[in-house]
Symmetry: C2
Subunit: 216 residues, 2 copies
DNA sequence: GTTATGAATTATGAATACAAAATACAAATC
DNA sequence: GATTTGTATTTTGTATTCATAATTCATAAC
């Protein structure tokens, strides 16, 4: 495979790079909720000055991942049960919308790709590989979102799911719930194949509501 | 009226103040879409240094109100028809959700207040006072949102409506559309009074879809 | 021993200074 | 005259410096 020599050289501003790295660290739980993020310390860690770091902090604060308190610095946002109760209905509504839109726009090729991922996911489920299952699960939902052809919607979903993702690691799915989730996915795939937007919307919404119950 | 002497003295960071002011200027159309926002110029205008201004810019960029291009500065985001087509369905979904939630939580006192605003709005409609009508209209929708008891949802709606607000000034409502909008509001109030969440959700969604048609 | 006070330290907020990239403009070439 | 190339200027990105508020810690008072 040859690389595109004429491709534009990409040099990103430090604040972008910092925001991405910190976002990843927070979402993946490397930075614990409530943890104090001292500027000096992070600057030393990343080898940058405070200016771009502070710019990155403003971005993360706007996304809701950190909290800025005037003259007192920055802490990783905590994820309370109330936050989950707030976020999940919204994610449900957005996911329902993405389902409806996806039914209008999805191509056969995309559908085939989702089916493939779905089948692989079922295999991983049967093998009891929770980690792989989650990964594939996520990719399927991402593909539905892409098929909705609405970048703004995708962006909002991404932002919200980033906020609640940390809760996932607290959640230990019961075997019963896991089986139910797989069954739900079968129905989701059916509705998508039939381009039944209304039904898909209901299914996705319910799927997410069940997930919230599991997490709680 | 006496002031609370013991109230905490609030001193906000400059970047907050700047973000608020710039947001207002963009949303209200004082800064035109596509307009270049040169740092030096704005610094002079506000009498601050570039550091807090740049922090404010990062916030507005995250909110989607401005666009940052590395090494090329900042411009006010343009609002294309495609953007509206993306934003309105999302706002519809969120508004539908807020309707459902509002029906679960709204108090009689809040309902009475909304009725009052509604009646005043109808009066302004009959007087042909579009400006006042819009203001009251907005307050009603805001009160429904508040009754949903979901700050995250409120925040997202606010952010989205800020983005599309500029389009409203392009829109000149036809008399027929205006009459229809008022009629829709009557039904919305009915559904809310009856705590009929499903019906309210449908009405609000349709109401917004109609609005999009008007804007376009 | 506990609480309150104040100085020393540290962290954050904002301005300035410096570096690097982009733009504007002039001169040179065809 | 149009296009290209080199230089000056402007603008943005980042680091550093200065100012101010918060925190820590030692001391004093009860």
């Amino acid at each position: 495979m040859s690389i595109d020599v004429a491709a534009p050289i990409q040099r990103r501003p430090l604040h972008n790079e910092l925001a991405d790295r910190l976002r990843h660290m927070i979402v993946e739980g490397e930075l614990a909720p409530g943890e104090k993020l001292a500027e000096k310390e992070l600057c030393g860690q990343f080898g940058v000055s405070r200016t771009p770091l502070r710019e990155a902090m403003k971005v993360l604060a706007t996304e809701g991942l950190v909290q800025l308190t005037p003259n007192r610095g920055c802490t990783v946002s905590k994820l309370t049960l109330a936050d989950l109760d707030e976020a999940f209905p919204i994610m449900g509504a957005l996911e329902a919308l993405s389902g409806e839109l996806a039914c209008q726009h999805i191509t056969e090729a995309e559908l085939a790709r989702i089916r493939e991922l779905h089948d692989r996911m079922v295999v991983r489920y049967k093998a009891g590989a929770l980690r792989d299952y989650f990964k594939l699960n996520e990719r399927i939902h991402q593909m539905i979102l892409d098929a909705a052809r609405n970048p703004t919607l995708a962006q909002m979903q991404l932002s919200l799911s980033g906020r609640v993702r940390r809760a996932r690691y607290m959640a230990n799915m019961s075997p019963a719930r896991w089986a139910a989730a797989v069954a739900e996915h079968e129905k989701i795939l059916e509705a998508l194949s039939a381009r039944d937007g209304k039904r898909l919307a209901v299914l996705l919404k319910q799927h997410l509501a069940n997930k919230l119950q599991t997490v709680k």
